[in-house]
């Protein structure tokens, strides 16, 4: 067990290191530096700036310094916005994205499991077909298409909610719906197929034969085992919601990290692009690590011998 966790942790660190190094060297490959501007800076000032930011040192020293800064949570300063710390920008805008993301995750898990459960219980009946058609639609229709359709119908035509903004609870409805459609559909499909398997298992027959009520059977026996695959999907789901939020925040005018990312890319503000990329990378890799470990805890059938399987 300890070996398994250590092994996964080691992998996570290596991947992070690869991502950070790739980010650094790719950005170094771009011609010019933060002080290449339309207005020519006098050479003395340029030299002074280079010294202050360590740009006069050889690349490998810059690299080590960069790594050291990231470990301390320092992502450098924005190139386009005067005196703005990248980590400050991230921490300022993260709360909006976090709220949106967490609500979307909760909604996806609850509705996805419910839909999958209903579909499995009414296997090959109307509810099953309807749920699975919804699931295929949810997986195939891109989130930005869904977002614009929702915006058009419910905000522009019906006027039930605001077109943009992110202030009162009602503003959550459309972005969350658009963001969680795909994960919900995926979870519904996962839950359905694993529950169908569980429903035919011998221990369910035993439970029925013991005369347990169906509620106890459903929640204690079927659901507990049936939602195990959903745990493995939590990592990819977070990735899905994070990348999805980049577009959704833009469409609904939510001032989160995703919006900062898009703006930084459009003006090529490299320190912010690097900072947010690495921040997203850490976020997603840690989530993946946590779900990998969590899966072993929730599934008692997995007996780990050494660190090879996984």
């Amino acid at each position: 067990m300890v070996r398994y966790v250590a092994n996964k942790f080691f992998y996570m660190l290596v991947s992070l290191f690869v991502l950070i190094s790739a980010t650094f060297f790719l950005m170094k490959a771009i011609p010019g530096d933060p002080f290449t501007a339309e207005k020519k800076i006098p050479d003395e000032i340029r030299q002074r700036l280079y010294e202050q930011f360590g740009l006069d040192k050889p690349v490998y020293q810059q690299y080590l310094r960069y790594l050291g800064n990231i470990i301390q949570g320092d992502f450098g300063i924005s190139m386009k916005r005067l005196n703005q710390d990248v980590s400050h920008i991230i921490s300022q805008t993260f709360s909006a994205s976090l709220k949106l993301g967490i609500v979307a995750i909760i909604v996806s898990v609850i509705i996805g499991i419910l839909l999958g459960m209903l579909a499995a219980l009414y296997h090959r009946k109307f509810i099953d077909t309807a749920a699975m058609v919804l699931a295929v639609l949810g997986i195939a229709v891109p989130s930005f298409v869904l977002a614009t359709v929702l915006q058009y119908v419910f905000a522009s035509k019906l006027g039930w909610v605001d077109v943009m903004g992110f202030n009162d609870p009602l503003d959550y409805v459309l972005p969350v719906a658009a963001l969680s459609a795909q994960p919900t559909a995926f979870i519904a499909r996962l839950t359905r197929s694993s529950m169908l398997e569980v429903l035919h298992a011998d221990y369910i027959k035993t439970a029925k034969a013991k005369g347990l009520s169906w509620i106890v059977i459903l929640f204690r026996h079927v659901l507990r085992n049936g939602i195990l695959p959903v745990v493995t999907y939590l990592g990819p789901m977070t990735a899905n919601i994070v990348t999805g939020s980049v577009i959704i925040e833009q469409i609904f005018g939510i001032g989160g990290i995703g919006k900062q990312f898009v703006e930084a890319i459009s003006v090529r503000d490299y320190p912010i692009i690097m900072g947010i990329t690495i921040f997203y990378g850490i976020l997603l890799m840690v989530t993946r690590f946590v779900t990998d470990v969590a899966y072993v805890f929730v599934d008692p059938r997995i007996k780990l011998t050494g660190g090879k399987e996984g």
Partner: protein, 315 residues
């Protein structure tokens, strides 16, 4: 007996000549009475019974035909603007209306579909090529080779896919080919794992042992025996990775890293239409429908293909 009389329906007259003694001929048991079907014909028959999958196939053919001939059906080109007729609703002259530079939306939508399909198909094919070679080597040689190669792919895989793509395109200027390159840089890993799994499972079969004991080379084993038998899951993975690539390109368009104007993809058209689309919904409508239909059809067709190629998996 009364009951026996009822066994012959009224109006049927059976005479003794209608009966013939067939006896028991053991050789008859070996006779093949139906035409034998290859695995492909078998799969095709199963696929044909899946109405949703066949409808999706039909839609895909239509979309592909539209992408090929659509841009040539009107007198306009994808980049000819007409600043006197901007943001026009659909009409006889412009079937899908015009955009903010007065470009014909019908031509641009189909042209965009063409670019999106090229990106999706090219990315899927390159993933296939790299994935089969890499996964084939991992699965076939096993042992230390497999362990090292698998660790490399695992490290690469755990770096979030779209972040790598974004980083690359920020550095390389976006064009059709750099987009495809960026999409494939870690996109092949999934395919390599599928191939690896299949090969590992297949290489212990008796026919491989038989071929090996007759002195077949590694190449022959791999290309003659292992890969052809692993082709089912490979095809399904390719089919399902096309819509992913199309989506990824659309996502990049939202970041301004997709196909650059005046060229268009379905994603970049939707992204362009976002400004003021509540006033000009048709600019959003047609590309959005087309991209949804295409992705839906690829997904359903891929699912159907999986069921047809491997009926054991069907639930």
């Amino acid at each position: 007996m009364a009951s026996e009389q009822h066994m012959v329906p009224p109006g049927v007259n059976l005479k003794p000549e209608d009966f013939r003694k067939i006896g028991v001929d053991e050789k008859q048991a070996e006779v093949i009475s139906r035409e034998s079907l290859s695995a492909w014909q078998d799969a095709w028959q199963r696929l044909r019974q899946n109405k949703m999958a066949m409808a999706s196939l039909g839609l895909l053919v239509l979309v592909i035909l539209g992408a090929i001939i659509g841009p040539h059906l009107t007198p306009y080109t994808y980049d000819s603007n007409d600043l006197l007729n901007t943001n026009q609703p659909p009409s006889g002259a412009h079937w899908f209306g015009t955009d903010d530079l007065g470009r014909d939306m019908f031509v641009r939508t189909w042209y965009g579909a063409r670019i999106s399909l090229i990106v999706g198909l090219a990315a899927a094919l390159i993933d296939l090529l790299i994935g089969v070679v890499y996964g084939g080597i991992m699965g076939f040689f096993g042992g230390r080779t497999d362990s090292i190669m698998n660790k490399i792919s695992e490290v690469l895989y755990s770096i979030p896919y779209l972040l790598v793509v974004i980083l690359l395109l920020v550095v390389l200027e976006p064009s059709l080919w750099t987009i495809i390159l960026a999409l494939t840089i870690t996109g092949w890993i999934n395919m390599s794992w599928i191939v690896r799994g299949e090969i590992m499972q297949l290489k212990n079969r008796e026919y491989v042992l038989a071929s090996r004991s007759m002195g077949a080379s590694s190449n022959r084993l791999l290309f003659k025996h292992l890969l052809p038998n692993a082709i089912g899951p490979i095809i399904v993975t390719v089919t399902l990775s096309v819509p992913n690539a199309i989506f990824a390109e659309a996502f990049l368009s939202f970041l301004g890293l997709g196909v650059q104007a005046p060229k268009a993809s379905l994603g970049s058209m939707i992204s362009d239409a976002l400004t003021g689309w509540l006033a000009f919904p048709w600019r959003m409508l047609f590309p959005a429908i087309l991209i949804s239909v295409t992705m839906l059809a690829f997904n359903i067709f891929g699912d159907g293909l999986r069921d047809a190629l491997d009926p054991k998996l069907k639930k």
